[in-house]
Symmetry: C2
Subunit: 168 residues, 2 copies
């Protein structure tokens, strides 16, 4: 029932346009990344691809993801947990806010902020080539009660973190 000439995923089309040679597994990875709305690490990409077609290896995922990145088709992210995350490259620069409660990643953009950052770089005598901005925050509580609960949770979390370090 699956059409032989499957319609290419968004990223596959972009690869095509950029002249990146496509193969079965590259198409698959392109599709997985096109369909992902989050920031999967390589293993997640591998698992999602494997679920569709088990004819793929980690090595190829690593190679392909690297290829796509240097081709500018996807972007690498590093949220400080020791493994690379990827997301489809969109035209805009956006930044990330990581929710310390649940690890969720919220994307945002702000022209004023960007302008100011560029100005700061210029002031230091530099032409800005890249920004890496991540915010870490707790979703603001609506009530004092909620705030209290949250504070206790945070304390517990921090104590735990101190105990077994090396966040996963």
């Amino acid at each position: 029932m699956v059409p032989n000439k499957h319609d290419p995923s968004r990223l596959e089309r972009i690869c095509q346009a950029k002249g990146v040679k496509m193969t079965g597994q590259r198409r698959l990875i392109a599709r997985v990344l096109s369909d992902s709305e989050d920031h999967p690490d390589v293993e997640q990409v591998y698992r999602r691809a494997f679920a569709i077609d088990s004819e793929i290896s980690m090595a190829t995922v690593y190679r392909t993801v690297r290829l796509f990145e240097t081709a500018g088709v996807i972007e690498r992210r590093d949220f400080g947990d020791g493994r690379a995350r990827y997301e489809a490259a969109r035209g805009d620069h956006h930044h990330h806010l990581i929710d310390l409660d649940n690890g969720k990643v919220i994307e945002f953009r702000n022209a004023e902020l960007e302008g100011l950052i560029e100005a700061v770089a210029l002031e230091l005598g530099y032409r800005l080539e890249g920004i890496r901005l991540e915010l870490y925050g707790m979703s603001a509580p609506r009530s004092a009660e909620e705030a209290h609960t949250r504070t206790k949770q945070l304390q517990a979390r921090l104590a735990q973190a101190v105990r077994d370090r090396r966040p996963r």
Copy 2:
């Protein structure tokens, strides 16, 4: 000539105040980090410590640096080159601008910027707990000529980077 009761380094004093148990190698590492004005990685810390007293192992440096970090005495940095850097924790938050020409790290601070960032977080419904901001830039050329040279260098650099990926 070295006094037996050596005067404690700044970080050693802070550890003391925080109740971190000190030993010979911890004192040594505290001194090395106190004296470092840059952002050494673990191997550099090890080398600098080893140069003073070879009675120290990498494992201990790793463990101590981890200990100091969780105690809030030093801060871990990650400039995206795959190894952790450390610097003594100062009271202020500051950010880093990495010079793409020579890898030098410039520190800066900007209240306006920080305020704006906090506002952005708030706007998203979050209380800001941490910021990670790194700028990557090329030192701005003073002349058109210099600009041209620089552009060519950049192109060569980029081409090279594309070729052998994995920045060191």
